[in-house]
């Protein structure tokens, strides 16, 4: 038996180990560890949480089914209004990121020769710690913060400091800022797919720049806007830090109440109910927008292909 045969034998056994075999419904065995994390850890987390919403104490072995906590939610105007307030803040944030982000997205997609550099500049702040970023907004919005310094001391426009902190608007500002990239990137991606000859054609046919934008560019970025809006809405509706640090006690959002229910000595069952109801709202939104297919991380890669 020569060495080549040994080598071939090793090859065969390795093929069976790593060579992209499928197993049951899993197309490739190498997906198993990752899928285990998704199914066991993520799935297990969601499942145990959902169990808590309608069972007395599943961890302690008490599986008695009760809908008392769902009834409590349905009968509580406080928690229903918290849910609605959170959605209102999320809508304001989504509109805010769209209004602030669209012009920059347009500039990056249409005019800039340094598109990749600018995209990096827009995306980079995503990676900065969110506690620090929210803290930065406290420095800006405080009674003795940057905004009031500029308005009072520098420009002398005001005698009294503006009350910016601990308002719903502070929460919206503190959310628009970190979520801008999530709106800008999908819009840029959708703009890069536009055939710019169409815009030229519209202008040649007598349309002004604004008309060409409104009739040709804007409709073709709908998919990007929808994707960006979905990202921003989901992320902002579940905000935890901004409402606590910038909104003060009067502007707590749903995530704060969910978190509160899971802190020491609180009501896990009711917290789970809030989490389930909130998730249901988000899922309904996803279904309504019908975006499930577009919401992937791969958006940026397809963008590079287009260049």
């Amino acid at each position: 038996m020569g060495i080549r045969d040994d080598v071939r034998k090793v090859d065969v056994s390795l093929q069976s180990l790593v060579g992209g075999r499928s197993l049951w419904i899993i197309p490739d065995v190498r997906l198993i560890p990752g899928l285990a994390w998704i199914v066991v850890v993520l799935g297990g987390s969601i499942l145990t949480m959902v169990l808590y919403s309608f069972m007395v104490d599943p961890l302690a072995g008490n599986f008695t089914v009760t809908f008392e906590h769902y009834r409590r939610f349905l009968g509580s105007s406080l928690y229903q209004s918290v849910m609605i307030d959170s959605i209102v803040i999320a809508i304001k944030t989504t509109v805010g990121t769209l209004l602030v982000g669209y012009p920059l997205a347009y500039y990056i997609a249409v005019h800039s020769r340094r598109r990749n550099l600018l995209l990096l500049v827009v995306i980079a702040p995503i990676w900065i710690n969110e506690v620090i970023r929210t803290f930065a907004w406290m420095l800006i919005l405080n009674a003795n913060g940057v905004v009031n310094y500029v308005l009072m001391d520098l420009l002398g426009l005001l005698g009294e400091p503006l009350r910016l902190m601990n308002t719903a608007n502070a929460v919206v500002i503190g959310l628009v800022h970190p979520l801008l990239p999530y709106m800008i990137v999908p819009i840029v991606a959708s703009m890069l797919r536009i055939d710019f000859a169409e815009i030229e054609a519209a202008k040649n046919l007598g349309a002004t720049k604004l008309q060409a934008f409104y009739e040709v560019t804007l409709p073709q970025t709908k998919a990007g806007i929808a994707a960006g809006a979905t990202f921003v809405f989901v992320l902002s509706s579940g905000a935890y830090l901004a409402p606590i640090l910038l909104g003060g006690s009067g502007n707590n959002m749903i995530a704060n109440f969910i978190g509160l229910m899971f802190s020491e000595g609180q009501n896990w069952n009711f917290g789970a109910v809030l989490a389930v109801v909130y998730s249901a709202v988000i899922v309904a939104l996803f279904a309504a927008v019908g975006l499930l297919t577009d919401v992937e991380l791969g958006g940026a890669t397809s963008m590079e292909d287009d260049e």
Binding site: H111, P125, H177, I258, F262, L292
Partner: protein
């Protein structure tokens, strides 16, 4: 009845003014993105206890206060340990999954590539508060709540979408014919792997691990719910201090975090030469 479009037709802007306006708005938005970060960096050098403008001078005393504060040093150490463990574990699991996603044979399986990509994106699509408290209940169920392994398991879940998809897209850009050539020249599957495929995707793997490191190091929401009272990660410690009172040391630690995060992720982006959303 005049339509909105027709109304827009009445306004015509010269090319020069349109360009100016677009540049101005783009510049303003970028300033808005970076202004808060710059303010933290600026205030980290103020000699005053309270934020005062204009700054009366330059001082490094808050950086000294930072390195002399045991609470900060311990939290940084704990966060670093957690992030390194997460980067290696998530990098490994993500590399396997990335291979499966890019090289798997999806003919006739109910789990096609699109579904798998959505599955692997779930940990970042699902709101963080849900995975946060879900993990809290699940780790209690497993009786590992608050332990270091539980934190690593959770952080692998949070970072897996990034490691998997970065490595899968790295493999996607790889020329498979090189690997085929190695095999045709007599290399075994294993040798082709180690000597051809792995070196070629190493940049993606390193980039994926850097992303995982920074995500784990900076994670707040989930870690906040998964952490035992005995331990503190840096973001959780900072959160506690921010809620209490204004402490200028926070600007110093914030500046360190900002510079560190940007340096690491820009390096990772350079290495993988792919933009991440």
């Amino acid at each position: 009845m005049i339509t909105f479009s027709a109304l827009l037709g009445k306004v015509d802007i010269s090319n020069r003014n349109a360009n100016r306006l677009q540049k101005l708005t783009a510049g303003t938005v970028i300033a808005f993105l970076y202004l808060p970060i710059l303010i933290v960096i600026m205030l980290s050098f103020t000699p005053e206890k309270n934020p005062a403008f204009p700054m009366p001078g330059i001082s490094f005393k808050w950086y000294r206060a930072l390195v002399e504060d045991d609470a900060f040093v311990n939290a940084i150490w704990f966060s670093a340990k957690l992030a390194v463990a997460t980067a290696f574990a998530s990098g490994f699991v993500g590399m396997l999954a990335g291979f499966g996603l890019d090289r798997g044979d999806f003919t006739g399986t109910p789990l096609d590539e699109r579904k798998l990509r959505i599955l692997f994106s779930l940990p970042i699509i699902i709101p963080f508060i849900i995975t946060g408290i879900g993990g809290l209940v699940f780790f209690n169920f497993l009786n590992i709540y608050g332990s270091f392994p539980a934190l690593v398991i959770g952080h692998i879940m949070i970072t897996l979408p990034f490691t998997t998809l970065v490595i899968a897209s790295g493999l996607n850009g790889l020329d498979e014919s090189v690997e085929e050539a190695a095999k045709n020249l007599g290399a075994t599957q294993l040798r082709a792997y180690y000597e051809v495929t792995l070196p070629m995707i190493m940049p993606s793997v390193v980039a994926a691990m850097l992303f995982a490191f920074i995500l784990s190091f900076n994670n707040f929401i989930q870690t906040f719910f998964w952490l035992s009272f005995a331990d503190q990660t840096l973001p959780v410690l900072i959160y506690g201090l921010v809620r209490l009172t204004y402490d200028p040391t926070l600007n110093a630690v914030g500046t360190v975090l900002i510079v560190f995060s940007l340096a690491l992720t820009i390096t990772a982006e350079r290495i993988s030469s792919r933009l991440l959303t």
